[in-house]
Symmetry: C2
Subunit: 466 residues, 2 copies
Amino acid sequence: MSIDDLLRYARVNRGRHLDELRQFVAIPSVSAQPDHAGAVKRCATWLAQHLRKIGLTNARVVATRGHPIVYASLRGAGARPCVLIYGHYDVQPAEPLANWQSPPFVPTVRGDKLYGRGVSDDKGQLFAFVIAIEAWLRERGRLPVDVVCLFEGEEEIGSPHLLEFVSRSRSDLRSDAAVMADAIMASPARPALVHALRGALYLELTVHGPRLDLHSGLFGGVVLNPLQALCELLASLHDAHGRVAIPGFYDRVRRFTHAERRILLRDAPSDALIAHDAGIARPWGEEGFSLYERIAVRPALTINGVQGGYAGAGSKGVIPASSGAKLSFRLVPDQDPQEVARMLRRHLVERMPHAVHGTLRTISAARPAQMDPRHPVLQAASDACRLAFGVRPALLRGGGTIPALHCFQTVLGLQTALLGFAPTDAGMHAPDETLHLPTYDKAVAATIGFFDAYARQSCQERKQIA
Amino acid sequence: MSIDDLLRYARVNRGRHLDELRQFVAIPSVSAQPDHAGAVKRCATWLAQHLRKIGLTNARVVATRGHPIVYASLRGAGARPCVLIYGHYDVQPAEPLANWQSPPFVPTVRGDKLYGRGVSDDKGQLFAFVIAIEAWLRERGRLPVDVVCLFEGEEEIGSPHLLEFVSRSRSDLRSDAAVMADAIMASPARPALVHALRGALYLELTVHGPRLDLHSGLFGGVVLNPLQALCELLASLHDAHGRVAIPGFYDRVRRFTHAERRILLRDAPSDALIAHDAGIARPWGEEGFSLYERIAVRPALTINGVQGGYAGAGSKGVIPASSGAKLSFRLVPDQDPQEVARMLRRHLVERMPHAVHGTLRTISAARPAQMDPRHPVLQAASDACRLAFGVRPALLRGGGTIPALHCFQTVLGLQTALLGFAPTDAGMHAPDETLHLPTYDKAVAATIGFFDAYARQSCQERKQIA
């Protein structure tokens, strides 16, 4: 059966949908920053209200011990396959604000792009599913499969309360598979279907020195500057070859066979493309691996932030009383975040100078995740992309981390199709984040087609089993 | 001749003087921060107005290419000795603001202390001279010596425009010696007379990486993080023994003979006192030197600030596009700031990884300074302290840097008596900066006595020469 009527509906209502997305993006739902908690809540309320408006009448905001979750479901009477649609309505901090051409929460169209924090990650990609559901319900009065929506407000801070919610909501969430769009494309014309993700371990290291900030003229030379100690500790985490220098760190990293590497690299972006997307002239990292492999199947450690001493204009002769760093590991099979945290602690304790003391705090942790590319939900996602983009999506392993994916796998036993509709230059997590509108039209078409494709793939699977 | 009448005048007017000092401190004259430029100007205007009020009728605000200078003079008809009084009305940034018990620019008395940014460094110490001049003019109608006042608004940023002003104002500034109070005491009951200061070289190092901030999941492992490169560069600046690891850095550092070290250490504070003042359990630094020597005659390198990546609450998975550090050297005879800057640049260039690039900028530079303790102005300062505090001031070398001192020596040929009236726990450059009021009363008495003492010392010197 053709879905042309649905695609036409999306085209005709394109302007209104863009306005709605702009309303959604305008709410500064920065989950990491406590002073934005009200906006996060407002954003959840807006989203639930919108879902009710398009026909998901039971949509509601569910409180957690952190930011709320937006939940909705639409189940038919018969025994149809059910897909859990996941997305996150929270966004990354917009800092540094000075680097935005238009304010991050005043979504602005320039050329064929919409600019604003979260336009791609993940409000835009999430909203493609919302538009698809609306199209089905308005044009056909029903969806071809049952759906459950779970839209989270804490993805960008590591989903600290998702596991608890999913565990206690097993019956509301019961489904056959999950789908989400929260990744980048393989190239400007080719979406990605991500079947594996790295895990993450995010930590905060603080080094404490003198009781108070000191004058560096009066005390420079007799006090171990905590900022100096911190830099020395951070510098000890990598060796001269770009490898993580923490003893034991690579012990559990899975080695791929030659044959496995060939499969792995089939759809992989080239070194040149990755370097171009990163905006770097000279790549860096572990020798003996392509850039794609370094992102996909090799772990990494990033110092995400350092804060200490005086950072304002001009100069200040200060020895800060303390200083801190945020750092994160990206982990691959079969690394364990808890074990890596223990290795890091041991490494730091051994190197901590006596004249200062340090504290290490884990902010979030998620294991690596892996899906089966032959699962109906991944097949359906692939079919839908082919229909909308005219090309099979690249089957990739992703370098990022989506704790939800692992949580759905372990708690609900679900495989997830993770789609990437954001162009590689969308600036997710950076200033001037963009949504490329012509690509977005295709993403909306793909999500519309996905429900149909999943109904067919599920049906085929049942026939095969029978 | 007794100065009891003058001391009584100070006692009687103590409350009003404290109110005036609070007005002075309440103006947030933070020279380092461009958004405070208006306040710096307001502060200069207030000070010039106050000087006119107490009788320095020619007091005026002199524009420079940076923050203004307040100038005043009072010269008698005859050939009297003239002393140049220097101080600075600008203050250090007040950050981190959260660590203040009362707001930094709402000067507040608690117990026997006045709290506020600049109460000691240097508004309080500067104002002691202003009170002394007022006492002489009101009680006696004249000062016993000629005076020139030069109160600067850029000391805390390295006095970038002082040299230019002094060079073009030689005739207005002609004097026989200079005096300033901008140092800490040797112990709670004993002021300091500082006869040498370390030089300073303040620089800013920036490391640039990818064109934009990147998502550390999507690119972690293939991009050299500029923040990591920065930490590694900063870590390379010290060796494991706390010495500066830049080749050639110690080549020009003067070696003191055993006899010189004995003299040096005569009035020196103990290791225990310095560690106590610093608020540290374990001292640090170059082996083979007392803590006092490490501050007084050994150079030091301090990382004053690092800024890069995300420093807000929670987490952000970012690889910053660039990151920067502020660092400063304290230099001793016979080191040359320009030469040290060249050595640092060479060291960094050799270690800069190819995948990033760095920029190094000198913010300010000042040579080390050295005075003759037998000069009349230092003798007069010593006499005045003995009178007011009942004890000879400790003759010390200071670890800080006051570019004015070097400038007066090289351009005007003047020796400077640098007095320290701020208790060691005054928190100069730190939150909760204090002025200990009972000590301040003695500092005011010492400045009143100084003019008299300098008149006598100069007279003796002339007799000796004659």
